[in-house]
């Protein structure tokens, strides 16, 4: 149990919905969510498929602990081939939608084909049907959820949908659930849009059964106790949220600034978590008004903010005057330090547009930063941008371009293709701060060496959440290591990648691992699920998932040459701070990493490794 053992298969081309049993042989090898859905994708699609074609599939997947009493058991993921990268994509979200889907009796939904007209999927426990979405197409995430709720007449339904960005083929469009939680990265929302699928609405009252209720309650309570008593998950994250990172990373000299031209931002304190709690000049109110947690989460890291209604970006636009999710660290960095903008209100506005229209703020902010670099260097001019002066530091330019990108208008159409395509078009590919086509997040690998290897080897393109070495290299969790050395980082990255892949397959949140180890999480899985689930087995499953994703990417055409970093990170030394004079020494880490993985010098899993992992 814990798995519902049921998959909902939706053929959008034919308009049919059917139930089928979960492949339990695969469940015992890949657990759930990220791992299990990746196995289905690998088995059912050609890795060379055009991500935006009907032949690509898209999977909404829960984990075995989703909707259970496990702390943070509300996670779900979207797995598909990503259009931004051409690599396997897995975007993880919180909120309440995932638990509702699981409570309706489904482990996952596999979407295939393409609907001839806009539709949405309606699920009420066992009953699933595709309904006409003609009057929803063209609407924002917020309008879509409100309209669907109104038509269902049930306040308990949960909605995941795309906004205009997903409809318009923005290659970093996300799927948004509960209005401000996002399966944000790699363009999974563009895949949804390409299938003419606007939304999924679900109501679930079946519930989830665990294998050994007494043992499960004991394991979940033990994990909850560790989270409550830990200084980070019990106090730091609930009190300050992710935005507390802004000043830390800046002080450490690892805050990518103005398209990574610098690695410290003199406006960092103005856009930090601390600044969000101060009274602002405009209306005298603090930016942050409250906090918000996801399903079953005792940490409650989410922030809720309210803008100054007189700020230029929202004056006369009352729909932006209410409370809204954010800012989180990554979004604040992408719209702030990356673009050189220190106006907190503009960053919140850009973040709200991402929620309203379904976009990944990391890729959007970083692509705007690349465009600003092109503009400042004279590679593009007002003629290209439609008169928008894309200068570093311009809040007005940010607001205009973010709106244009969501709506698919003006220069926003080019921004919507991501930084790699934008910079290649103008003959400056080196100005795209991306790996495998996906933009780097908020940690400069010149100042945090392990993050360079993390980005270079991440299976979904640059991502901090595949092996968050920042925890050790900067925050001292579980123990402090030197961020400026490469020693030991290959082993650290591999271990974190495998453990993260396992946690991402449970249905719980990776933030628990600031306090919990697999020795805490495995007993929850073991009690909830059939089979024996030790911490060692979780590591083995994680390593299997990592190699499965790697094989998919190699079959899609990626090679070891793609395990690299932007030239600026490898060649141009940091100018200030502790990393001054340093580049990222990826070349010192990558061969050791391949060796530890049991891969050839060309980054290909050896036959021995594949056999060991039963791949």
């Amino acid at each position: 149990m814990a798995w519902t053992r049921k998959i909902l298969r939706v053929d959008l081309s034919n308009g049919t919905c059917g139930s089928e049993p979960l492949n339990m042989d695969w469940a015992f090898k890949y657990l759930g969510q990220r791992g299990l859905a990746s196995k289905y994708l690998v088995e059912e699609t050609d890795p060379k498929v055009d991500p935006l074609s009907p032949d690509n599939k898209m999977i909404f997947a829960t984990g075995p602990l989703t909707a259970t009493e496990a702390p943070t058991g509300g996670r779900w993921s979207v797995i598909t081939k990503g259009p931004l990268t051409g690599a396997i994509a897995c975007s993880n979200s919180g909120g309440f939608f995932g638990a509702e889907l699981k409570n309706a009796g489904w482990d996952m939904i596999i979407f295939e084909g393409k609907s001839p007209k806009p539709v949405y999927l309606s699920i009420d426990n066992d009953n699933a049907e595709l309904l006409d979405a003609g009057d929803l197409w063209g609407r924002s995430v917020w309008e879509t959820e409100d309209k669907i709720r109104e038509s269902r007449g049930n306040p308990f339904v949960r909605v995941a949908c795309i906004g205009r960005a997903g409809e318009n083929g923005v290659l970093f469009a996300g799927v948004i659930n509960d209005k401000d939680r996002a399966a944000g990265r790699s363009g999974v929302g563009a895949v949804m849009g390409s299938k003419n699928l606007k939304a999924v609405v679900v109501r679930g009252t079946v519930g989830v059964k665990v294998d050994n209720p007494n043992a499960f309650k004991k394991a979940a309570n033990a994990a909850r106790k560790v989270l409550a008593e830990n200084a980070v998950t019990g106090e730091g994250l609930p009190t300050y949220g992710t935005q507390v990172m802004m000043n830390i990373v800046n002080e450490t000299g690892a805050l990518p600034t103005r398209n990574a031209g610098d690695s410290q931002f003199d406006g960092a304190s103005k856009i930090s978590g601390e600044a969000m709690l101060e009274k602002r000049a405009g209306d005298g109110k603090p930016h942050t008004v409250s906090t918000k947690g996801c399903y079953g989460c005792p940490i409650v890291c989410g922030r809720v903010s309210q803008m100054d209604p007189e700020h230029f970006s929202v004056a006369g636009k009352p729909r932006y005057h209410g409370e809204s999710g954010g800012l989180e660290y990554e979004a604040a960095w992408a719209f702030g330090a990356a673009t050189g903008i220190d106006d907190l209100e503009s960053l919140q506005y850009a973040n709200m547009i991402c929620n309203e229209h379904g976009m990944d703020p990391i890729s959007l902010g970083s692509t705007i930063a690349a465009a600003m670099d092109l503009y400042e260097q004279g590679v593009i001019t007002d003629r290209d941008t439609g008169g928008v002066a894309l200068k570093f530091g311009s809040a007005e330019a940010l607001v205009t371009i973010v709106e244009q990108t969501a709506k698919g208008e003006g220069f926003g159409k080019e921004i919507g293709q991501g930084s790699r395509r934008l910079c290649e078009k103008y003959g400056k590919p080196e100005l795209s701060m991306s790996v495998k086509g996906q933009e780097l997040p908020a940690y400069d690998p010149r100042g945090i060496q392990g993050m360079g290897l993390t980005y270079a080897t991440s299976n979904r393109g640059a991502c901090h959440l595949r092996s968050y070495t920042v925890a050790s290299e900067v925050l001292g969790i579980p123990e402090k290591t030197d961020p400026l050395t490469t020693d030991g980082k290959a082993g650290m990255v591999k271990a974190l990648q495998d453990a993260t892949a396992a946690v991402d397959s449970t249905g719980t949140c990776i933030f628990t691992t600031f306090a919990l180890t697999l020795d805490d999480i495995a007993p929850e899985v073991d009690a909830a699920c059939e089979g024996d689930w030790s911490a060692d087995k979780m590591v083995e499953v994680g390593e299997r998932i990592w190699n499965l994703e790697r094989k998919y990417n190699l079959n899609a055409g990626f090679t070891a040459a793609d395990d690299t970093l932007p030239k600026r990170i490898l060649k141009d030394a940091a100018k200030t701070g502790p990393a001054s004079g340093k580049v990222n020494d990826l070349g010192k880490m990558l061969p050791e990493y391949y060796q530890l993985r049991g891969w050839t010098a060309n980054g290909v899993p050896s036959n021995e490794t594949l056999q060991r992992l039963a791949l």
């Binding site: 730091g236 009190t239 507390v244 990172m245 990776i510």
Partner: protein, 87 residues
């Protein structure tokens, strides 16, 4: 009479309440005795040592065992956080 020097103190998250009253944002200049250590400054400001998790001097981490040994220099920036994290 002891000579003094000026350093920059930066206190974040819940430690900001220990900043001198004339502080702007999360930082302030601080007159300290010549050769003062991070541990001595932490004690003088009344910072609960268990909350001084991340201690950086000019952005570089100072391990707990070294906080009482290494004298700071004029103009150094001493930044301190309680246990926090993000993503």
């Amino acid at each position: 009479m002891l000579q003094s020097m000026k350093i920059r103190i930066k206190l974040f998250a819940l430690l900001s309440r220990y900043l001198p009253p004339d502080s702007a944002g999360n930082e302030a200049d601080l007159e300290v005795p010549d050769g003062a250590t991070a541990a001595a400054i932490i004690a003088d400001l009344g910072l609960p040592s268990e909350h001084c998790h991340l201690v950086l001097v000019n952005g570089v981490y100072l391990a707990p065992g070294a906080r009482g040994d290494r004298p700071l220099q004029e103009g150094d920036a001493l930044a301190i956080w309680p246990p926090v994290a993000g993503g």
